[in-house]
Symmetry: C2
Amino acid sequence: MLTVDGLQYSNWSREIFEQMREGGVDAVHATLVYHETTRETLSRMGEWNRRFEEHADLIMPVRQASDIERARQAGKVGIFLGAQNCSPIEDDVDMVEVMRDLGLLIMQLTYNNQSLLACGCYEAEDSGITRFGRQVIREMNRVGMVIDMSHSGERSTLDAIELSSRPVIISHANPASFHPAKRNKSDRVLKAIAECNGLLGFSAYPFHLRNGSDCTLSEYCEMIARTADLMGVEHLGIGTDLCQNQPTSILDWMRNGRWSKEMDYGEGSATNAGWPTPLAWLRDSRDFPNLIEGLRGVGFAEQEVAGIMGRNWVALLERAAAPEQGLNRVA
Amino acid sequence: MLTVDGLQYSNWSREIFEQMREGGVDAVHATLVYHETTRETLSRMGEWNRRFEEHADLIMPVRQASDIERARQAGKVGIFLGAQNCSPIEDDVDMVEVMRDLGLLIMQLTYNNQSLLACGCYEAEDSGITRFGRQVIREMNRVGMVIDMSHSGERSTLDAIELSSRPVIISHANPASFHPAKRNKSDRVLKAIAECNGLLGFSAYPFHLRNGSDCTLSEYCEMIARTADLMGVEHLGIGTDLCQNQPTSILDWMRNGRWSKEMDYGEGSATNAGWPTPLAWLRDSRDFPNLIEGLRGVGFAEQEVAGIMGRNWVALLERAAAPEQGLNRVA
């Protein structure tokens, strides 16, 4: 079964790539950066180029939706890159096309804070998409860079969906009705994502789950089944948010970047500052077959399972990540 | 006749692109940067992306040799980008592949000064290719970025040819035997360029010519004929070094970058500080047909003229700018 994980940010290694193959994962949306500048983003690209060279037998870059099928047929894991913030473009609309040319297929308009484009889900007030944000949405639509609102505020998310001519996604979050976390999404947002022909990737990050690390596989799959009723199954995928083997310094970078002198604990707290305990049924990419079984267990038909496990992600990239026709990009 | 100009750095405008079409120019090696950092180089890329969008009826990007024929068939001018210095990669070998992915097909290892890679032709002493330079040559060979030694010193040029597994070029200069300028090349260098299956693009910049701006078309074409005897006609092309409509501030940037507090006049002098007077027979790209006539006039066969005017440049890009097989680049 073609399998796509719609978000991981692991401490990439040969072992992790081998686990993906073992778990039957054909493609992964890998986070490239959180708060890196344009120049720093290029260094992260350089690191991925080295990985593609060194592990050419296991992984390959995904620059367009059809590369996922190519990866699958080559027995490799396709990697598509995304940014969890708009820092790669700094204040420069021209960097959207430059980054897309380098293979950045997905970009969040904000991490948790206000950005130059939109408002994050941790701010007290969300004033919606900024003037620069409107220009960037138009440019992302043109070059085929997918707008991801996973860490954005409600109003900004609804604004972005309204302004964008192409589908908007939430690559990794869950319904707030399942678990009321700041990062989870209201039914209103989820319906708007479905209406724009976008996609929700279900997160397996314990902070986004009812009962946290103790959330069971059947509870998780029941959540997906209920969301299918709300959004339509074709708009659902997986976005585990797996962050394997990362030191807590990475958690600090994600949460604090360069913006805070005091420690910000994000979804954690001073007494619970570290990485959450992983789910027993999704310790790493080798456990993906558990998800297939879980989805079957809550009554999804085989074609629906195939959609949720990967086909819906491929279809989303086909409709949202292809450059507009006539754009002078070499295919 | 398929026509390629192997170097221009004009003040790009619709008028200039229209002149290229009028002159039958199918592709131009356009200088992207002189001394720009990695980040600044991306802004220059962004400016080209805007030009490709705004003038999509006239120009298109060349990412591989075959794009030149595509441009010709579409009635457009293909633009391939090159750097006149190694500043786009700063001190970072990973930036070679990143820049190649963005369409930088050609890079000089030095401008006139010592660089991190090699020695320029204006330094008192040339100690050859540096440690970093060896790594970068290997990486340029791997990703298919053409090594251009137009502004380099003699020893560095010979070293680079020796170290490179792929052809090395001089995109814009002339034989020193024709006119003994620091930027022109010895017979020894020219023979080594031919032996590595590289290419010399003949410059039409008056400082590189006997009698400067008064050099005649037949003197220029006689120079080409004599060089064909030395190098073989298949290793010859055109690299006019046309810098149309540029203010003298650009000449200052080329010559002084950020490295000098005193004015350096490069090939000029305090009493001759500005742009040289253009050649009467090559005022702009509309005059390219004069070159065809001039080459016929000194006795070149029609196929040899076709080679010099463009086919040799296409063949050079085929053998020197294609990524090594197995490299994970989307074609």
